[in-house]
């Protein structure tokens, strides 16, 4: 896969890689993509895609307010919190 740009895709995936990882993953993914190319042999003309094994569509429930995870429980595993909120780096200048 000549057009597979590991740096570009890793950025899309929000994963920082070391130069060694870029080289290793890039070549391994090249092999895997080469293998996956075999799907081009299959005639899929007129075939509908399958997203799920069973045809479930638009599963809904009544919109009713119910008890949910308590606030402090939802925050308990946060790596940084203050004042009942998650702490994140500054987003807006």
């Amino acid at each position: 896969m000549s057009d597979f740009n590991i740096q570009y895709v890793a950025r899309l995936a929000r994963i920082s890689l070391t130069p060694e990882e870029e080289a290793r993953l890039g070549s391994q993914l090249g092999n895997i993509l080469g293998y996956i190319e075999k799907l081009k042999e299959v005639d899929v003309h007129g075939v509908e895609p399958t997203a799920h094994a069973f045809p479930l569509v638009n599963v809904t429930r009544p919109d009713v307010i119910e008890p949910s995870l308590p606030h402090e429980e939802a925050l308990r595993n946060a790596p940084a919190k203050a004042g009942g909120l998650f702490v994140v780096p500054k987003i807006v200048e």
Binding site: I15, T50, L56
Partner: protein, 488 residues
């Protein structure tokens, strides 16, 4: 020797009060003390919590609660580190979850507790269930109780090894492309992937949502049927769980195969199959015939494309599901000057190599300009694979095959070559793509070294009863399930 009892035998003893829940739990912990330094199945176990649950079960038994009301009362059952158990750690064998503790119980855990089970332990796995050997665990590699120079399979390697080593009476794992059936085969126990939608996925950390399913590891088929009974059914918290009635699974274990048609897929008779595995499975097929089943050749013409289809669909879904590990809401965090840097650094240091490989592959196949060529095409091939199975199931009640092409391989043998590792799943993957059910059970051993060989029985969608009937009839008329691992 309580730890060597089968789950059904333990239930009998508990209900006759010949053994207490506390003794059963203590027997598991003692066996862990004896062998887990060699097997490394468990990441952790909260002994106090386990003994408190066992004591509560004994109090319930003393007050007259029966196993008719609570079928698993006092039975110790361990969990793969991918299932939420309230108040207990959950890491998916990854560093990225840090000190995470589950705020709630998965539906299957709630159901086990409701049935009276003593739910304990966190079982090792490949990180985020991505792998076939447990070598991708961020903590350590679990080893095979039959030969500790070999892997136990994966991703649910800890589940299979703990059952084979008799450190628990059963365990629950998850199967996305074979992660229950493959390790069960390599460790010589019974592992079942129910039909997609049979068991609620609520509280299972998602890998590939359209393929994932929770299922049991047990010492025999009857135990698997008992555990499937306890965890099956519609759950309003998982809108992909199905409103199908749950049959009485143990009632289907008749021992009789008369009138059943069992398919052999000609595409599964591929090269690369170990001669001893091939011979064991062929003997198993003749045995099934001698029990009254009619053997019929079927065709699954798109089998050769299953692995490629799987590695597009599963990685695409994983890239979306694992976006939630962002260093903001839970888990470990590596600081950054802006959210993008924080996310990227956290994920770069928190995920292991295989998880990064799959997220990047999944991101690529979904990315602008490549979606149609990869993801959409794979979804169409998935349709063809599913149609192959539905067509085959018009003429047969089940399909049998080897579970894996070889017995357990050596630690390190395939870890440098991801594609070779992926190809070890050729027999199990299409079942997840098609959504039907499958089970692996022991069907023999290699000669030297002595390693278990697994027979896979694939059933129709919601065809667990017939699948279990076939597996049980085979098992009960062969000696394999009575063999105990050297570290069992």
């Amino acid at each position: 020797m309580i730890h060597r009892l089968r789950l059904a035998e333990l239930i009998d003893k508990l209900s006759r009060r010949e053994c207490s829940a506390r003794e059963a739990m203590a027997a598991c912990l003692l066996q862990m003390d004896r062998v887990d330094s060699q097997v490394h199945a468990f990441l952790s176990v909260d002994r106090d919590n386990a003994m408190a649950q066992a004591d509560a079960a004994d109090r319930a038994l003393a007050s007259g609660v029966t196993h008719r009301e609570k079928p698993l009362l006092g039975v110790p059952i361990a969990l793969k580190d991918v299932l939420c158990h309230q108040g207990q750690p959950l890491n998916c064998s990854s560093k990225i979850l840090g000190t995470f503790r589950s705020p709630y119980d998965a539906t299957v855990v709630a159901k086990l507790k409701e049935a009276g089970a003593t739910v304990f332990g966190r079982l090792n796995m490949d990180e985020f269930a991505m792998g076939s050997s447990t070598e991708n665990s961020a903590f350590f590699t679990t080893l095979n109780p039959w030969d500790t120079s070999r892997i136990p399979g994966g991703s649910s390697g800890g589940c299979a090894a703990s059952v084979a080593a008799n450190e628990c009476f059963a365990s629950l794992g998850s199967d996305t492309g074979g992660s229950i059936r493959q390790p069960a085969a390599l460790c010589g126990c019974v592992g079942m992937k129910p039909t997609y939608g049979r068991v609620s996925r609520y509280g299972l950390v998602a890998f590939a949502s359209s393929l994932d399913q929770i299922g049991p590891f047990t010492k025999d088929v009857r135990d698997g049927a008992i555990l499937l009974q306890a965890i099956s059914g519609y759950d309003r918290r998982d809108s992909t769980s199905m409103r199908e009635p749950v049959p009485e699974y143990t009632a289907s274990l008749t021992g009789n195969l008369r009138g059943l048609k069992i398919g052999l897929a000609k595409e599964f008779m591929v090269g690369g199959l170990d001669p001893e595995v091939d011979a064991a499975v062929k003997r198993a097929v003749r045995h099934l015939e001698s029990l009254g089943a009619e053997i019929v050749e079927v065709s699954l013409p798109h089998s050769d494309y299953a692995v490629a289809t799987y590695y597009i669909i599963a990685t695409a879904e994983a890239s979306a599901n694992l976006a939630r590990f962002d260093g903001i809401r839970y888990g470990a965090r590596v600081e950054g000057s802006d959210p993008f840097q924080l996310n990227s650094r956290t994920r770069g240091s928190g995920f292991g190599a295989e998880v990064k490989r799959r997220i990047i592959l999944g991101t690529y196949v979904l990315s602008s300009g490549y979606y149609d060529a990869y993801y959409l095409r794979a979804q169409k091939v998935r349709t063809l694979i599913r149609q192959d199975f539905l067509k085959a199931f018009e003429s047969v009640d089940a399909i049998v095959s080897p579970t894996t092409p070889t017995a357990a391989f050596k630690v390190g043998e395939k870890s440098g070559d991801p594609l070779q590792m992926y190809l070890s799943d050729i027999f199990t993957i299409s079942c997840n793509l098609a959504g039907n059910c499958g089970i692996s059970l022991p069907c023999g051993f290699t000669s030297s070294p002595k390693l278990p060989i697994g027979l896979q029985v694939l059933g129709k969608p919601f065809g667990e009863e017939t699948m279990l009937r076939i597996a049980h009839a085979y098992e009960q008329s062969t000696p394999w399930h009575r063999e105990v691992a050297p570290l069992g």
